[in-house]
Symmetry: C2
Subunit: 149 residues, 2 copies
DNA sequence: AACGATTATATCGTACACGATACAAAATTA
DNA sequence: TAATTTTGTATCGTGTACGATATAATCGTT
């Protein structure tokens, strides 16, 4: 590849990654609209449903988001009645985020989301099972390498 | 997989895609900071360097971004003197975006960016060439499927 | 116990993303 | 040609992302 061709859009790895991420998030849009939540809010709910109450930093560690993103996001979710934020008694610096009954109940409505996403993915493209497995493995390698340190 | 496990974070495809995209963009941060541009602005420059002057819609078609994102982004780039926006004479609805001399010259400074990105990618993880090729192919399938219609 | 370093969260400013809407210019159709 | 539809941009509002900074609480060390 000539030196200049390194700058061609089709030779970038970053762009299709960026585009695929945005398009995938957009695919969740209508589904999550039914639940009145956004995609990042859905991710927060996923970790709370799976693991129970967590501190802001713990959520950030799992989702690779910092508090400057999470604090306002969690406040919006608290205002909507999905969760409760409370200062920890053992460590007054820490804020414990726990699901409200409403937030807990929302899990039932969310159970159909992954199935519909899988269906949508299969609709347009024809990714084989092996391809998806390899793709996910590479993604995890990349995230592992870049998120570390 | 049990029904409920579909909601576990580690079983999502969307999350590592979202995380990898953000982390990759973050990797560009320090490099592009040298050029005083952001990652989306870099993408706009890539298509203009490669193809010359384009309309807003043409840029949007290549980058899969709508005008509600591009118009303010292009205005910021115009204010920084990287490009010029002008109404087309043939079609007064269309705005032609062309590089300024400054924007054109910036290409020379950008030539080292892709090399450094590749180096950073290799630093942490050990992606084989075949793995990168397969990964890129899957990304293009996904983008093609979701961007169509 | 005092004090500097670390940790957990929050705030601020800027720049995307994107759904919804607006509007004028061009194309289409009646 | 007048009316309708489509197209190309722009605007508005909301919600992330994220670098930089602030602040209070805890920890570690002396």
């Amino acid at each position: 590849m000539k030196h200049e061709e390194l700058l061609y859009l089709e030779n970038q790895l970053c762009f299709p990654l960026y585009a695929a991420s945005r398009l995938t998030t957009q695919m969740y849009g209508p589904l999550l609209h039914e639940l009145d939540i956004t995609y990042p809010q859905y991710l927060v709910l996923l970790v709370l449903w799976q693991r129970g109450a967590l501190s802001v930093t713990e959520i950030g560690g799992l989702l690779l988001l910092d508090t400057n993103t999470l604090t306002p996001l969690l406040k919006r979710m608290e205002e909507k009645g999905l969760l409760v934020r409370s200062r920890s008694k053992e460590d007054a610096r820490s804020v414990l985020v726990s699901l409200s009954p409403t937030g807990q109940q929302l899990k039932e409505k969310a159970l159909c989301v992954p199935m519909q996403v899988i269906a949508n993915f299969q609709a347009g493209g024809t990714l084989t099972h092996e391809e998806v497995v390899a793709f996910k493995a590479t993604l995890h390698k990349i995230v592992g390498a870049l998120a570390a340190e």
